[in-house]
């Protein structure tokens, strides 16, 4: 089957620092891929390259039959089909919850306001924020903000969703409410690429786990393979230290 997203030989440097050293990765439609790895291994950079928030130095990113790295690609058009959720929520501070969700559909997809609001309310209800539709986005809790951010991305009806450590900025007690939303999404068949430190989530939800180390993909496989019997020494080291750090 043709992958929905195909990354070939992706490289990226920040000045002298080479952060991505040739990444190849295919994501099938409906697949949930979790990217794990040590801090500074380039996970966020990879994810941000996937919708060209970072411009890669070389390599190709094929999405829906188009190469995003082509200088003449219609970036804004392609980005409409790729949702992204950030670690820091990044809600629009000058808009309330509903307007956060309807801004892009109305202004870039030219959907009539009433219809956009209907869709937004539907998605806000699914993430459990039906009561906060008119709330000031600055006054929400972190978990609520992140769920609004997810709803906002869903309102564009993306074909794939990218998550960059969506729960890292949250208090441990409210990590669950965001993860639950993501699990529901995964169950509904959304294609997802998730950078995360939540190993339990990765184990439970993902179809494939990708371990990144120093700018390369060192190992990938099903959660059972990667967590159960990692092939690489580096992976074992990371996982054991990670589990130790977490006190598990």
């Amino acid at each position: 089957m043709e992958p929905i997203l195909s990354i070939q030989g992706l490289e990226k440097s920040f000045g002298p620092l080479k952060v991505l050293k040739g990444i190849d990765l295919d994501v099938q439609k409906g697949e949930v891929v979790c990217i794990i790895g040590a801090s500074g291994s380039g996970k966020s950079t990879l994810l941000r390259c996937l919708n060209l928030l970072e411009e890669p130095d070389s390599g190709h990113i094929w999405f829906g039959g188009q190469d995003l790295t082509d200088l003449d690609a219609d970036l804004d058009g392609l980005r409409q089909r790729i949702g992204m959720v950030f670690q820091g929520f990044n809600l629009f501070n000058n808009k309330n919850v509903l307007d956060n969700c309807t801004l892009a559909p109305i202004s870039v997809k030219h959907i009539p306001r009433a219809q956009a609001e209907e869709t937004a309310i539907h998605h806000l209800r699914t993430v459990g924020l039906g009561e906060f539709i008119h709330a000031d986005s600055r006054r929400l809790s972190g978990g609520q903000k992140q769920r609004v951010a997810i709803a906002r991305a869903l309102c564009m009806e993306p074909e794939i969703m990218l998550f960059d450590e969506p729960t890292s900025a949250l208090d441990p007690e409210i990590v669950g409410e965001v993860l639950d939303v993501m699990k529901t999404l995964a169950r509904e068949g959304m294609t997802m690429v998730v950078v995360t430190h939540e190993m339990a989530f990765a184990k439970e939800v993902s179809d494939r786990v990708v371990f990144m180390d120093q700018g390369v993909i060192l190992e990938q496989g099903t959660p059972a393979e990667v967590f159960g019997s990692p092939r690489e020494a580096r992976t074992r080291e990371f996982l054991s230290r990670y589990l130790e750090d977490k006190g598990i």
Partner: protein, 402 residues
Amino acid sequence: MAMNNIFSALCAILGDAGRWLRGRAAALLSFAAADHPYVYLSGSALSLAAALTYIFSQRYGFFLSRPLWVWTALALCGAFCLASLAALASKLRLKRRYRAGSRFCAPAARRAARYGSYVIWTVAALTLADRLHVLYQVVREVMAMDTNPSPFFQAMVYMFYNSRALFLRGLWTTLRLAFFGTIFGFLLAVGLVFLRIQTPSKRDWDHVKLIKILCSRFAALYATVVRGTPMMLQAFIIYYAGFGLFKGHTDLTITEINTIWSFFIAGLTTVSLNSAAYLSEVLRGGVESIDAGQTEAARSLGMSSWMTMMKVVFPQALKNSIPAIGNEMIINIKDSSVLNCIGVVELMYAATSVAGIYYKNLPNYVSAAIIYLIMTCCISAILNKLSARLSLNTYRGVPSSN
């Protein structure tokens, strides 16, 4: 060797003495600050001020004989001073137990002090009312005079009253310069800041990159030039450059040019162009203060950079900049005074003209200063109200159930 020893011993002694003194001073200060009924002292100061007002002023008022009033006030002052002294003595005697043990801390004494403060308050209020009445009388008299009186205040009132048309015209012009100058300046600044924040990206075509670089350089250069030269000089340059343009490229006569390219228009242009530079910096700061995350979120949703700017970044930047924009208006009220150099009849020009008519400088400049002060205070009060109203709006969106 011996010298050294003596020296270090001396240092030690001096150091000890210094520490001791500092300790005493701190103890004394905390003693003075603790529990003192300062109402006695402030009461005596106020009533003394009331008495002095009548001892030194030539005019007195409408409701009491002067000696009686002076003696009342002095007696009050004396009574409060005595009470204060007695309280101090009691405090020195009782030290730490003052608060618990002294009669001056008993509720009865506190109540007496409170009633005493009402009396002082009345005296002060009556004195003030009387002085205002006297002021009113003086102003009435001055308004009826037909020669310039010599006392400072009277002369000031006389000249202001008799040249009020000129002063008011100046005031009105100053207000218009500041108001419209800030508005036009703001509109220009919005344009400038959009030029300024253009950054070429890898995906732009080459000529777009070039245009973006040129735009941003131009806006930066404009701000540098305007902020780096005095406004008075800008006024001269703009006035004469405009005049030259009309003269060189049209066949208008000089009188015709002066009606089209009037001093006021040239002055307004100066203020606007000047404010544009400062406000563009303010707005740029506002744009840069919006965290990049919001821009990235908007771009990740497929919004163009222009749309991101218009719908997300700029509205927030603008809102954050509102206080600074108000500030610019107040600055313009004051700084438009330099436009008197090209003959704009604003308040400064009016004051100078009146000074020239009467050969008296100081009173007229003080009048002008008072008017400027009133204007700036009023405007900043209005602006504070407005910005309070605006920030209130942000609290509207309290969670509502549906």
